[in-house]
Symmetry: C2
Amino acid sequence: MFENNPVTKLLKIKYPIIQGGMAWVADAELAAAVSNGGGLGVIAAASMPPEALEKELLKIKRLTDKPFGLNIMLMSPTAGDALDLAAKYRVPVVTTGAGLPGKVLERLKPLGTTVMPVVASVSHAERIAKQGADAVIAEGTEAGGHIGEITTMNLVPQIADAVSIPVIAAGGIADGRGAAAAFALGAKGVQVGTRFVCADECTVHINYKEKIISSNDRATVVTGRSLGHPVRALKNKFTKQFERLESSGAPAAELEALGSGKLRLAVVEGDTEMGSLMAGQSAGLVNAVEPAAVIIESIISQMNNILSEMARL
Amino acid sequence: MFENNPVTKLLKIKYPIIQGGMAWVADAELAAAVSNGGGLGVIAAASMPPEALEKELLKIKRLTDKPFGLNIMLMSPTAGDALDLAAKYRVPVVTTGAGLPGKVLERLKPLGTTVMPVVASVSHAERIAKQGADAVIAEGTEAGGHIGEITTMNLVPQIADAVSIPVIAAGGIADGRGAAAAFALGAKGVQVGTRFVCADECTVHINYKEKIISSNDRATVVTGRSLGHPVRALKNKFTKQFERLESSGAPAAELEALGSGKLRLAVVEGDTEMGSLMAGQSAGLVNAVEPAAVIIESIISQMNNILSEMARL
């Protein structure tokens, strides 16, 4: 059904569903499961040492023969290494976060890599489109992790009006309703993060998954606004400590020290009290641990049902 | 086309479009224009003296023979007067904000009034549904004025799952794309605020309308989070002063004193620097001053186009 969809055509995948490049979460195992399920799996380079990232790239090539992606955090000290590896292994798709992807485009476009930056504002989307990006991932403030301030509902149509490359909606999309809404807003594809944290194949600690599953609509909080780096995560002891310190006007260095290592603590140790359980507001819509392929099929089939219902209006 | 829509049936209107009950903005003139255009116009009681509100109710009855609504701010000192007037004039529809509408339901349901509270969380929606509300307006954080923290994209489906009364989506909806997205998320109708501020028939100062029209996606800011009363408005000198004072840890009384009278200043005097230009993130999607009926028709026709396009997927 998506033969004429610009995102499936661009990425050579079956369904226009991209898995978010979540630091510490999005490894070869999860990405391969998403790609094998018909979406685009994405490995997060984050600040991984190059040897570790190289292992993940070799691993995903064993686990799938489908296209996959690599997310490069442009502000990371290892971004240059990740770029080298993307070139060396001819990674089919690169998504980028936190900055302007000029160098990435310059290096990878000649190799035929598809580059899709994540942006949180119209002006950023316009700039990366001019730089030659193939598509843009418009991420609303309801997403988990590092976020902007504009909601998916308002960001997607405004970016769709401003650029001619395909827009992929991200932030708050966990089911077929969100996906159908994204298409109505002008997106040609969706990026899903939080729901894939609860994929069977996702290697995060089970405590993290269970905390997402038991979340309601009000489970997340944004911290770090005063630092200029807002982050959305599930409320817990850690976010309360951070909030208290932040509202007391503590120096940035003290806040950063408190935040340091906390994502690893959640993902690896399963510490749901002092770990940073990054998750989007869609946590309230996630109700089960399921195989990635089942998640994808359920989003697509629910979306199809909604589209046919809406057509009857 | 909306003959079987639960919102048009409930409210006895042509299109499932409700105009937001915006304090100082939503008067009889705007509300009548929206009702005459096939939607549901709503007068905002806000903190209006009862004599002034009575005049507005008498006026709208002269200006339209269509159903209309009255928005009652439950925390306002004049809420009781507004409730008396709603009963006296048999106002067909009442929307409520900022609190639990138990008293309103008790008084008005026996009179046949339709009551639709505005809520910003699932638990609040569940409570008002149990209290006997006829429908619920689920308002996302992208809305203008007093807001919650959950985005429309995430609030609407979670409330639709939790209650069996019709859900009307609010927050971020300014065109047919937003309306179609709201329906995809499970809403049966939409509430539109910011775009109606720019209706021809809206009596706010032209400077306020022009400021909305020239806004981009990043034009709004939320202040008052530290007070527990977040408010979204267009960025200007006033919001910068408020932000500075708020982040300095000033006492609540001082912040409230700074905010006092600022909405009137924007609406009546057209002071775009020191007035509070309450507006949603959809300000970036509003590009013209048009008659309310034209706004409604354009939302409906764009939504219809999207639905037929999506059906072809």
